[in-house]
């Protein structure tokens, strides 16, 4: 009697697990198919568009990658985008960390209103200010990579929210102990807080890099109207798709470009996830 009951319980558990796994597998398929298609299409040797009616290439080849680097300006755009993203990442990480620390630790007048204002401003879609931004940059002759860097870095401080939340979890008594030990605010930040904030620094770097890396709207506005030399990958690749002739001819090349574009992000994540260790604050204070 006892045994039977036990067995039936196990059977029910298995059934529910089977259902859950089926649903999860279906969802991940839906999510993975586009990536899979792009990788497969980029390896297609024959010239045929998206509407060719089959998936697996008749001829496997790296031709599209070679075309991409030799016949198009892709490398130049890639360089532009990488430059913009890296510089923005550096600026944004520094600004976000410092803003968050200040908002987390210092108490000053208008602190709460300022935080709310930044949160509300951040809710407005960025394109509302597009026209104004364009005219300002145009008048300063910054409709190029520098303009992009400015635009992306300008509102960095508004990203403080998650980072401040993390700093809030680091006990204040650590700061206080260090200040009594003889540290200035500056020393506390660099010697105590930053070493403890690795996960959130990684997070900030990743988000700061990814946003400009794939951004299209502002880059098309600021660099998309001028010389092709200033394009970013998003702008350049969209131009291929815009043109009906190029769209067919360049489609496999486009897919190859897409694969190349995904490399830095993947690499960045793999490199940084080593530091994504949990429990860095373990043992500092009684938990």
């Amino acid at each position: 009697m006892e045994k039977q009951k036990y067995a039936s319980k196990k059977g029910r558990e298995r059934l529910s697990l089977a259902v859950i796994y089926t649903i999860l597998i279906l969802i991940s398929l839906v999510w993975l198919i586009p990536f899979f298609l792009i990788v497969i299409l980029s390896l297609r040797g024959e010239a045929a568009g998206m509407s060719a009616g089959y998936i697996f290439p008749k001829e496997w080849s790296f031709k599209n990658y070679i075309t991409l680097f030799t016949e198009t300006q892709f490398l130049r755009w890639y360089g532009n985008t990488l430059l913009v993203s890296l510089v923005v990442t550096i600026f944004q990480t520094i600004i976000v960390l410092m803003t968050s620390y200040a908002l987390s630790r210092l108490r000053f007048k208008m602190r709460k209103p300022l935080m709310n204002l930044m949160l509300i401003l951040g809710m407005f879609p960025g394109f509302l200010s597009m026209t104004a931004v364009y005219f300002i940059l145009d008048s300063m002759h910054f409709t190029n990579v520098i303009g992009l860097i400015l635009v992306y870095s300008a509102s960095s401080a508004m990203q403080y929210y998650i980072c401040k939340g993390f700093f809030d979890t680091i006990p204040k008594s650590l700061d206080e102990a260090a200040r009594i030990d003889g540290a200035s605010r500056h020393t506390v930040f660099f010697k105590i807080i930053l070493p403890l904030a690795k996960p959130i620094i990684i997070y900030t770097i990743l988000t700061a890099f990814i946003a400009p890396w794939g951004e299209y709207m502002f880059s098309s506005l600021i660099v998309g109207t001028g010389s092709m030399d200033n394009y970013t990958v998003a702008v350049g690749m969209w131009k291929w798709l815009e043109n009906p002739q190029l769209r067919t001819a360049y489609f496999p090349v486009f897919c190859a470009a897409a694969v190349i574009v995904s490399i830095p992000i993947t690499a960045l994540f793999i490199w940084l996830q080593r530091y994504y260790v949990e429990g860095v604050t373990g043992g500092s204070v009684k938990g």
Partner: protein
């Protein structure tokens, strides 16, 4: 290795909450001071103000000879141990201890030696290469202590350092911290909510509640002479028993009557000499406090015996706590005013519901006012309450007779004399016998008998002689007759409304041999139309307490005693109402604006005069929040 002096320290939050109220204390070098009180009483806030982690709203904080109000924590030469250890988790134990020394740029060898020495003292040498997370709570707290002692600070601040440890470890660390104090010979300030820690470790204890200091004294004195019901209940486990009741004086005895009970105990009046007579009328409600060890189970009846119904008991091994109720209808479980806890060392068979005789050791009874909860038997009574008679300009009390001075003359009457203990001078011509001289705090309390009746006096020096000549300072006495104050004491403090102002002036300054006109800004206090320049130090105190903007708008009150004002040609305008002649001294009663002011004077002066305050001695109080700034 320094004194710490706190003068009129306040902590007021922007929303107006006062976390710490007028904290005054002189901490001597090498003392072990414990701040104790329930949570939210302001003890940690005070400690954090000493550390510099919290701004001081008003008051003066000195460490050694330096005023450190505006000094950064790192420059105060203090070290602090936190409740949650606050170790740097990414550093090893060695680096944690060395961190402060490295920031101070000490040579490497020296740092190494000091870290090893500190680790040796605390027994953590073998953990030096470990990270905090690999260690247990007790070890971590040791590291935190090491980090503090390695810097050899002037003052060690400890904020509930043992609260996160388990009971056994706590006892062990308690002893170690005491040992550390003895070894380091440094001033320790220790915050805890645990009265056992306070009692076992402190040389002096500060009991706090709701931001107010309740009592500052040695552990023994706190236990034996609690100043109010809160201190009495807070110090000592199990808690002191409190009963409600009344006192009635019958001849040379006083009858203590317990509410909600038949119990009545008679004690000799000599035990209650210090009590205000108003408490002995049989109506005024008091709390009768008695510690559990001062109640014993009586074998046979006696004088101070009451009946108690036992409810339950707690066996603690060496002793048994017997819970009962002096109300024979009560149950003894609730913490009411009839419950009694008896500490009994004997081995007795007792069951719930048994009625037993309990003898109370009334020599150790504590009495508190029911409303104010202040002790009815203060160690230093404020007044002697005496019957008196005035006849033909002579004051008669306790069989003695003194001429009333001009200023305190009144018609013939019979009434009550409130003779402050500090109003008894030692240069009069009344002969009193000295019964005892007790040193309490910085003063000596003399118990005297004058014509066989008890009289208390305070004196700065201990009197060894058997008899002493005493007199009365008439400006401090009060005589009440028929419910009216016939003779009132002269107020000790004069108050003037004032403002803090800035004044622009053009001054001639000599520079490079040339006389130049230069604009200068002077800060000072405006009383009426008068401007008194404030010293640099005072201006800074005002700015520190009120901020730049509020300093000039806040309403202030200037306080100064009658001796701190001088009659002069300039200053605050006043008109003399009358001259008060107290025989030895003369004072002027003057009108300033709406108020009345008393000034010491030598001769007879009439009409309009001007008064100059002595700014070395005046106090400045902000009226809105009632904060003493200077």
């Amino acid at each position: 290795m320094a004194n710490v002096s706190l003068k009129h320290i306040y902590k007021v939050y922007p929303n107006g909450t006062k976390a710490v109220n007028d904290f005054n204390m002189e901490i001597q070098d090498k003392e072990f001071i414990v701040f104790v009180g329930p949570s939210g009483c302001g003890k940690s806030t005070t400690l954090r103000m000493i550390a510099g982690l919290e701004d001081i709203s008003a008051g003066e904080l000195k460490i050694g000879d330096l005023i450190v109000n505006d000094m950064e924590p790192k420059d105060r030469d203090i070290a602090m141990v936190f409740q949650n250890y606050a170790l740097y988790p990414h550093m090893t134990v060695y680096e944690n201890i060395a961190f402060g020394l490295r920031l101070r740029k000490l040579p490497k060898d020296e740092i190494h030696n000091k870290v090893l020495e500190a680790a040796e003292i605390l027994g953590i040498t073998e953990y030096l290469n470990k990270k905090p997370k690999e260690m247990s709570g007790g070890q971590r707290q040791r590291v935190a202590l090491g980090r503090a002692i390695v810097r050899e600070p002037k003052v060690m601040l400890l904020d509930e350092p043992l609260s996160n440890l388990d009971a056994k470890l706590r006892t062990q660390m308690r002893a170690e911290i005491s040992k550390l104090h003895a070894k380091l010979q440094t001033t320790f300030i220790y915050v805890t909510h645990d009265q056992v820690e306070a009692m076992t470790m402190g040389t002096r204890i500060v009991v706090m509640k709701n931001g107010f200091v309740q009592q500052i004294d040695t552990p023994k004195n706190l236990y034996n002479y609690p100043a109010n019901k809160f201190v009495a209940g807070f110090i000592g486990t199990p808690q002191m028993n409190f009963f409600e009741g009344t006192l009635l004086k019958k001849g040379d005895n006083v009858v203590i009557k317990f509410d909600n009970s038949e119990a009545e105990i008679t004690v000799p009046y000599s035990m209650l000499y210090k009590a205000k007579p108003a408490y002995l009328d049989g109506n005024a409600k008091v709390y009768i406090g008695l510690r559990p060890e001062d109640a014993t189970i009586a074998a046979d009846g006696g004088n101070a015996v009451i009946k108690v119904k036992v409810s339950h008991k707690e066996e603690l091994g060496s002793e048994t706590l017997i819970y009962g109720d002096i109300n024979l209808e009560g149950d003894g479980y609730g913490e009411g005013s009839t419950r009694i806890i008896i500490k009994d060392t004997g081995d007795r068979e007792l069951n719930g519901g048994d009625i037993i005789d309990v003898a109370l050791n009334l020599n150790r009874v504590h009495l508190f006012d029911k409303e104010t909860e202040q002790s009815v038997l203060p160690r230093i009574p404020e007044y002697n309450y005496l019957d008196c008679e005035v006849k033909g300009g002579k004051l008669k009390f306790l069989g003695a007779e003194l001429d009333l001075p001009e200023a305190a003359k009144c018609g013939d009457l019979k009434g009550e004399l409130l003779l402050p203990t500090d109003a008894i001078t030692f240069n009069g011509n009344l002969k009193a016998e000295v019964v005892s001289c007790e040193k309490i705090g910085g003063v000596n309390l003399l118990a005297l008998t004058l014509n066989g009746k008890r009289l208390y006096a305070v004196s700065p020096e201990c009197v060894e002689a058997k008899t002493v000549n005493i007199g009365v300072d008439f400006k401090k006495i009060t005589v009440i007759s028929g419910g009216e104050k016939v003779i009132a004491p002269m107020p000790e403090v004069n108050e003037f409304a004032c403002k803090f102002v800035k004044k622009k002036a053009v001054e001639e300054v000599e520079e490079n041999g040339k006389t130049k006109k230069k604009k200068v800004i002077r800060f000072g206090f405006a009383v009426g139309d008068n401007f008194f320049e404030a010293s640099e130090e005072n201006s800074q105190k005002i700015f520190a307490a009120l901020g730049i903007k509020k300093a000039f708008t806040a309403g202030l009150k200037m306080e100064c005693g009658a001796y701190d004002l001088t009659v002069s040609d300039e200053g605050i305008a006043a008109s003399v109402i009358e001259t008060l002649d107290y025989g030895v001294e003369k004072f002027l009663k003057c009108k300033v604006g709406e108020g009345t002011v008393y000034v010491k004077c030598d001769g007879e002066i009439k009409g309009d005069i001007h008064l100059l305050p002595d700014f070395e001695k005046v106090g400045i109080v902000e009226t809105e929040r009632d904060i003493k700034i200077i």
